[in-house]
C-alpha cells in the first residue's frame, strides 16, 4: 500500500545501528569485516613494535600482551570476576531504580520536574569523581562505593531512555486501554511498559559498558584490592606494560561481555518487534 517497503527496510536497519552491529544482519560482513580490520591492525602493530624496536613502555607488542594475558589468566579472570560482579550489581540496581524512577516520573509529572535538576547534574558530571566521597560514605573496606558508582552510571541513561520510551505509547494503544476501561495498573503492564521496553534496552546497552568502566575506574580511588583496575595501575606503576595491557584486555573483554549480554537480551525480548 505504500511504496516504501524496500527503502523502508533499508532505513530501519541503519537507524538502529549500534544495536545491530555485533550480530545478525548481513552476518558475514558484520563478523568478518571487523575481524579482518582487527587482524590487520594487530599485525601492523606487531610489525611496528618489532621493526622499530619500540620499548614496551611506549607501546607493548600484541604478542607480549597476549603472552602476559595467558600467563596471568588466573589473575585476569579473578580481577574480571570481582570488577564484573560490581558492575553487574550496579547494572541491575541502577537499571531497576532507573526504570522505577522513570515509571513514577511518567505517572506524576511533578516528580519528573523535581528530579530534573538532579538528573541534569548527574548526566553531565563525571560519576567517578563521586568515588572518593562515596568511599567515605559507604566504607573503604567494602565494594559498595564501586557498585554505587556503576549504578549511578547506569541509572541516568536507563532513566532517561525509559522515560522517553514510556512516552512513546501510541495514542491508539492508549485509546484502546481506555475503551477497555483498563485500570492504571493494567495499562502499565499491558501497554506502557512493553512499549518502553526497547528504550529501556537502549539505556541498558549504553549503561552496560559504562558500568564496567565506572566500576573499574572507581577502584582507582581506593577500596579493597581485588579488581582489574587495581591490577592495571599496579602493573603500569612497575613499568610492566604488557601485563598492564593484558589486564586492560581483560577489561575490554569484560565490557564486551556486558555489552553483548545486554544486546542479546534486547534482541531476545524485542524479537517480535518490527518497524
Amino acid at each position: 500500500m505504500t511504496d516504501v517497503p524496500a527503502g523502508g527496510l533499508r532505513t530501519d536497519a541503519t537507524t538502529t545501528i549500534p544495536s545491530r552491529v555485533l550480530a545478525g544482519g548481513s552476518a558475514v560482513r558484520s563478523v568478518v569485516a571487523p575481524i579482518v580490520l582487527g587482524a590487520i591492525v594487530i599485525v601492523a602493530w606487531q610489525a611496528l613494535v618489532v621493526g622499530l624496536q619500540i620499548e614496551p613502555f611506549v607501546l607493548p607488542s600484541p604478542s607480549a600482551i597476549g603472552h602476559q594475558f595467558v600467563a596471568n589468566l588466573d589473575n585476569v579472570l579473578a580481577g574480571a570476576a570481582r570488577t564484573g560482579l560490581n558492575a553487574l550489581i550496579g547494572l541491575v540496581v541502577g537499571a531497576v531504580l532507573g526504570v522505577l524512577g522513570a515509571v513514577l516520573a511518567n505517572i506524576a509529572s511533578v516528580l519528573d520536574g523535581m528530579a530534573a535538576p538532579l538528573v541534569a547534574a548527574l548526566s553531565v558530571m563525571p560519576i567517578v569523581a563521586l568515588a572518593p566521597v562515596l568511599y567515605t560514605m559507604y566504607g573503604a573496606d567494602v565494594e559498595a562505593a564501586r557498585q554505587i558508582v556503576a549504578g549511578l552510571a547506569v541509572l541516568i541513561p536507563v532513566y532517561l531512555n525509559t522515560l522517553r520510551g514510556l512516552r512513546q505509547v501510541k495514542p491508539v494503544h492508549r485509546d484502546l486501554m481506555r475503551a477497555y476501561a483498563a485500570s492504571a495498573g493494567q495499562q502499565q503492564w499491558a501497554v506502557t511498559l512493553p512499549t518502553a521496553a526497547p528504550y529501556v534496552f537502549t539505556g541498558l546497552r549504553i549503561g552496560a559498558s559504562l558500568a564496567v568502566i565506572s566500576a573499574l575506574v572507581a577502584e582507582y580511588f581506593g577500596g579493597p584490592v581485588t579488581g582489574l583496575g587495581k591490577s592495571i595501575t599496579s602493573a603500569a606503576a612497575s613499568s610492566n606494560y604488557p601485563l598492564a595491557w593484558a589486564y586492560v584486555l581483560g577489561a575490554i573483554l569484560l565490557g564486551l561481555v556486558f555489552y553483548g549480554a545486554t544486546l542479546g537480551l534486547e534482541r531476545w525480548v524485542t524479537r517480535h518487534r518490527s518497524s
Binding site: M125, P132, I213
Partner: protein, 288 residues
C-alpha cells in the same frame, strides 16, 4: 508559565533533596543502614555527610588558611581551565566523529569493519590510556613544537567525545527517507552533493543531541585525565588535592564535585545555544 513551573519544580526538587539529606543525616544510624552485611544507606557522620550548609558555606571560605580568595573562586578558575581543555577535546571529538560517520555512512564495508571497534574503544579504561597518550605526545615533540600536558588531556577528552558523535551522526546521515535518497539519484546527484544537500541537513536532529553528549563526555574525559596525569589547574587535580584535606575539612572535597557539575551544565548549555541557528533543520515533515 511553563518555564516558571519547571523552574519552581526544579528548585523544589533540590530543596527536597537537601531536606532528605539533612533528615537522613539527623535520624539515620551513624554507621549507615546495613542489611545482611551490606551497607545500603550511607553513614551519617560529619565526615561522610557534611551538612548541606557546611558544603555550601565552605565555598565562601578561603581555600587554604584564613585569608585569600573564597573557595568558589578557586573552583571557578579550575572549572574554566578544565572547560577550555574540554572545549578543545570536544572539537577534536566532533571532527573525528564526523569524519568517521561520513566515511561509515558512505561505505557499508567501512561501517561493518569500523563500528565494532568504535564501540570497543569505549570499553578501554581511560586510566590505561592517559599515560600512553602523554608519552606518544611527547614523542611528537620537536624543537619547534612542544607537546604540553594539557594536549594529552584534550586528546583524551576527544577520545570520549568522538563516540557519541560518530554513532549519532552515522544514524543521522542514514536517516533520510529512502524517497529522498532516490530523489537525489533521480537528479543525478553524486555522493558529495547528496551529502551536502540531503544527508547533512537531515542529520541535524541527530547531531545536536550527539554534540550535547559529546560535551558531557569531554568534561568527564578532562576530569579523569587530569586526575590521571596530575595536570595542574583543573577540576580533576583539585579532586586529588582537596582530598588530602578531607579528614580535617570534610566539606572541602565536595567543592570540585559541584564544580564538575557546573562545568558539565555550562558545556551542555553551550551546545544548546549552538543548536539555535540550526533550528530550521529540526522541522520534521508532517505528512498530511
Amino acid at each position: 508559565m511553563r518555564r516558571l513551573r519547571s523552574i519552581g519544580l526544579g528548585l523544589a526538587g533540590l530543596l527536597l533533596a537537601a531536606a532528605v539529606w539533612e533528615l537522613y543525616k539527623t535520624f539515620g544510624p551513624e554507621n549507615g543502614v546495613v542489611v545482611a552485611g551490606r551497607t545500603i544507606l550511607p553513614r551519617t557522620s560529619d565526615r561522610a555527610m557534611p551538612h548541606v550548609w557546611e558544603m555550601a558555606g565552605r565555598l565562601f571560605e578561603p581555600a587554604v588558611g584564613h585569608s585569600g580568595p573564597p573557595l568558589w573562586q578557586n573552583v571557578l578558575e579550575a572549572g574554566l581551565f578544565s572547560l577550555r581543555i574540554a572545549a578543545v577535546g570536544w572539537v577534536i571529538g566532533v571532527v573525528v566523529g564526523l569524519a568517521l560517520a561520513v566515511v561509515m555512512s558512505g561505505l557499508k564495508i567501512a561501517e561493518a569493519a569500523v563500528l565494532p571497534w568504535v564501540i570497543l574503544s569505549q570499553t578501554v579504561p581511560l586510566i590505561a590510556i592517559a599515560p600512553l597518550v602523554r608519552r606518544w605526545g611527547s614523542a611528537l615533540s620537536t624543537d619547534g613544537f612542544e607537546w604540553e600536558s594539557w594536549y594529552s588531556v584534550a586528546v583524551i577528552a576527544g577520545y570520549l567525545a568522538f563516540f557519541p558523535v560518530a554513532v549519532g551522526m552515522l544514524r543521522g546521515l542514514r536517516s533520510p527517507d529512502a524517497t529522498h535518497v532516490d530523489l537525489m539519484r533521480t537528479y543525478g546527484a553524486g555522493w558529495w552533493r547528496t551529502l551536502r544537500a540531503l544527508r547533512l541537513p537531515a542529520s541535524v536532529p541527530y547531531l545536536l543531541p550527539a554534540l550535547r553528549l559529546a560535551a558531557a563526555a569531554a568534561v568527564i574525559g578532562v576530569v579523569v585525565a587530569e586526575v590521571s596525569i596530575g595536570l595542574r589547574g583543573g577540576i580533576g587535580r583539585m579532586i586529588i588535592e582537596y582530598a588530602q584535606a578531607a579528614g580535617g575539612d570534610p566539606a572541602k572535597p565536595w567543592a570540585p564535585i559541584f564544580g564538575a557539575v557546573v562545568l558539565g551544565l555550562i558545556a551542555a548549555g553551550f551546545v544548546t545555544l549552538l543548536g539555535l541557528p540550526l533550528r530550521r533543520y529540526r522541522r520534521s515533515e508532517v505528512t498530511a
